[in-house]
């Protein structure tokens, strides 16, 4: 059996006194009563750490890069103390057959009890030939590993929605995890990449409470994806005031006005960037003066320019937004009306149509 949290903490030189202080503090910060401190201590003393298998499909590893930069909690604490990251071909020391052996071992030993984290997605075209691992298509490895897991975490926009490799025309037929695995609970943690703290927090939540976080309609944890960037953006007062950046190098840009007119996708993007921010809370795209590109939203790569507010509607096959299509339609209708009115007036003048006014009556 894997060590409990308590055993790992003691081994790292943490005293029992500090451990109990930590439990009280955790109970308080979670808004629970003091009676919960012993319960948390008990859980940490008795619960074996949950094994996590981390697979990599068609991806760029930006999720892993983000994950290892987590500051709260530090990734080393998550990886070494909280979870038992038994397989991650990018981070693990073992390689080749030894590595694959671990995968089989975890699947057999912890059947139905391990968490499967998937970074990237399986390409389905040509029988999955576009992503080969250990000599066979990734889709096979994914399906096998998923069969015995407790739950799946879809890391990043690749696993959640498909991301750039699924952009039109999607030559490899890259397919998000929830469209190939149907019988397991899936937590989507989208973003390209997701925020490091969001990633570690989702894992921490699942290990601490032994349950999935509350998910929204699209399967994302509500605690981080419950609100839009726009809802908590520090430039929001400028939006409400009607103060916008009009050009990248204008005074308004220097004064930090709202980037709405520059195509900021904050109003349609659900993520925690404007609250948690990046790199230990240093900044996030809007704070750096560039609009949000909506990287955690489904299909962000195929929804027109990052720099238009009224974006193109793809269905028309041409590059046209609602104003071009609708404005043209309204213009045509208006012109037709004018022409129709003119013909009507002419016809009436020549008494061709319309009602003859009764003569001599009234």
């Amino acid at each position: 059996m894997t060590d409990t949290f308590y055993e790992v903490l003691r081994r790292q030189g943490i005293t029992r006194r500090s451990f109990l202080k930590f439990c009280s503090l955790t109970a308080t910060s979670l808004g629970l009563g003091s009676a919960f401190a012993p319960k948390i201590a008990h859980a940490l003393e008795t619960k074996p750490r949950t094994p996590v298998i981390w697979l990599h499909g068609l991806e760029c590893t930006c999720c892993s890069e983000s994950f290892i930069r987590s500051a709260h909690p530090l990734t080393k604490d998550v990886v070494l103390s909280m979870l038992s990251l038994d397989y991650d071909d990018t981070l693990m020391a073992a390689a080749g057959h030894q590595a694959e052996a671990i995968l089989d071992e975890v699947r057999a030993k912890y059947k139905g009890n391990y968490i499967l984290a998937v970074e990237g997605n399986p390409p389905l075209n040509e029988d999955g030939m576009f992503c080969i691992q250990s000599g066979r298509p990734f889709i096979e490895k994914l399906k096998e590993t998923a069969a015995d897991c407790k739950a799946i975490i879809s890391w990043g926009s690749c696993a959640s929605w498909g991301c750039v490799q699924a952009a039109k025309p999607n030559p490899t037929r890259a397919t998000p995890v929830h469209k190939v695995i149907f019988d397991k609970p899936i937590i989507k943690v989208p973003g390209c990449p997701p925020i490091a703290e969001v990633m570690t927090a989702v894992v921490t939540y699942m290990l601490t409470f032994d349950r999935l976080p509350e998910l929204d309609r699209q399967g994302r944890p509500k605690m981080f994806y419950g609100q839009r960037i726009h809802d908590k953006c520090y430039r929001r007062p400028h939006f409400d005031a009607g103060q916008f950046v009009e050009q990248w190098d204008d005074d308004q840009a220097r004064m930090g006005y709202c980037l709405y007119k520059m195509g900021c996708k904050g109003p349609t993007t659900y993520n925690a960037c404007s609250t948690v921010r990046w790199n230990e809370g240093v900044s996030f795209p809007i704070q750096s003066g560039h609009g949000c590109i909506g990287c955690s939203e489904d299909g962000f790569w195929d929804k027109g320019s990052f720099y238009d507010r009224v974006t193109d509607i793809q269905q028309f096959g041409v590059e046209a937004n609602a104003d071009k299509v609708g404005g043209t339609a309204a213009g045509v209708v208006g012109a037709s009306i004018a022409a129709h009115a003119a013909v009507t007036a002419l016809a009436r003048a020549r008494q061709k149509t319309g009602i003859d006014t009764p003569k001599g009556e009234d």
Partner: protein, 235 residues
């Protein structure tokens, strides 16, 4: 309603008066409130997507975008609640109040009159028929562009409004499915909602033109009918 029935009704009434009471007071009131709401919605909606030039000064001293959005949301509530009231009136009001909700598509005669009206607009027939309510072509257009259009705009609009109110709000609960239905990215819903605005603008153009034209050219009153409720016949 069919022209013959209407003609009968008109004729019967004509024995006593040369006018028929068509649109009851609540319906007329709704029409003009609705017209005002649509005007406000279209103008403010346009400026929500393409905001006005930036205003100078302290952000705390300005609330231009906020007021524009407030006007849009307030008008949207009036439009939506009015639409519900209009459905209620279709049930309890007279049979003319039901016209824009139920098309007699099963009636071959109705279709032939749709085409007759179409020919009238194409200057192919010299005399229009008399109608107490909407003519069949008007009824068809009203159903397609107003009734369906209103439902579409209410669903997409409140789906977007629900994003601002937040997950779990009534709008998100009731209309959030719209966003999922178009693929989950509400940017799409914004685009389609905006296209709906342009369709509505086109409809309003046609509606106003047809009302004025028919008021002059047809055999009955149009504009005054929506004010007084009485349809006057000219011959």
């Amino acid at each position: 309603m069919l022209a013959e029935q209407d003609a009968f009704e008109a004729e019967r009434s004509a024995r006593m008066v040369k006018a028929v009471y068509v649109y009851e007071a609540p319906l007329r009131l709704w029409h003009w409130i609705n017209a005002l709401a649509i005007t406000v919605l279209a103008i403010t909606g346009y400026f929500i997507g393409q905001p006005l030039p930036s205003v100078p000064g302290e952000a705390s001293a300005q609330f231009l975008m906020g007021y524009i959005r407030f006007a849009h949301f307030a008008a949207a509530y009036i439009f939506a609640i009015g639409f519900i009231g209009r459905i209620y009136w279709a049930i309890v009001g007279n049979h003319h109040a039901r016209q824009i909700f139920i098309l007699p598509v099963w009636s071959a005669r109705w279709w032939s009159e749709v085409f007759y009206e179409l020919r009238w607009y194409l200057f192919l027939v010299k005399e229009p028929k008399k109608y107490v309510g909407h003519n069949p072509l008007a009824q068809l257009m009203m159903f397609l562009f107003f009734t369906i259009g209103a439902v579409y705009m209410i669903c997409t609009g409140f789906a977007l409004y629900g994003e601002g109110l937040g997950e779990g709000s009534w709008a998100s609960q009731m209309f959030g499915w719209v966003i999922s239905a178009v693929g989950g990215n509400s940017l799409q819903v914004h685009a389609w909602h905006r296209l709906g605005m342009w369709v509505t603008v086109s409809f309003v153009l046609v509606h106003v033109y047809a009302a004025i034209r028919e008021d002059i050219m047809s055999r009955q009153s149009l504009i005054s009918t929506m004010i007084s409720g009485w349809r006057m016949f000219k011959d």
